[in-house]
Symmetry: C2
Subunit: 84 residues, 2 copies
């Protein structure tokens, strides 16, 4: 079966996010004064072929831990849904 | 009131995503053969101070259109929830 995973990888809350800070001031310059606390991370979508949801979940976990997220500075969360 | 927006900005489906292709082969090299069709975009979280949800939504739309997403090559979607 085919599963679709949506993964969000964000800088840890404890860390500064310089890119987010820059975007916050960019938005202020555009007149959007009421937007604050911008944080920027990655969104990754991928498809997994697996026999069941547990196996798909294992693969997504492995992908996040080994390649996609740097757990020293980033946290990840994901949703997994069957397609087709 | 304060609203929290989660925005996903992804490369349009019609376009190649070279970063996604590179990650797909990286994952294959790690033994994750069953993962395919990786696409990589941005995930942005931000807070909006607004009187009501409509006004918050307007500000998020403006931010996406004017700064966050390049609509020639990217699409965006978001969710908006009240906090506090």
């Amino acid at each position: 079966m085919k599963y679709l995973a949506h993964i969000d990888i964000m800088p840890l809350k404890e860390l500064l996010d310089p890119q987010g800070k820059a975007v916050t001031s960019g938005l202020k310059n555009l007149g959007l004064q009421d937007i604050s606390n911008v944080r920027i991370g990655k969104h990754i979508s991928l498809e997994v072929n697996a026999n069941d949801k547990d196996s798909a979940q294992n693969q997504v976990e492995t992908a996040c831990k080994k390649l996609l997220a740097n757990q020293v500075i980033e946290s990840y969360e994901y949703s997994l849904n069957e397609v087709e």
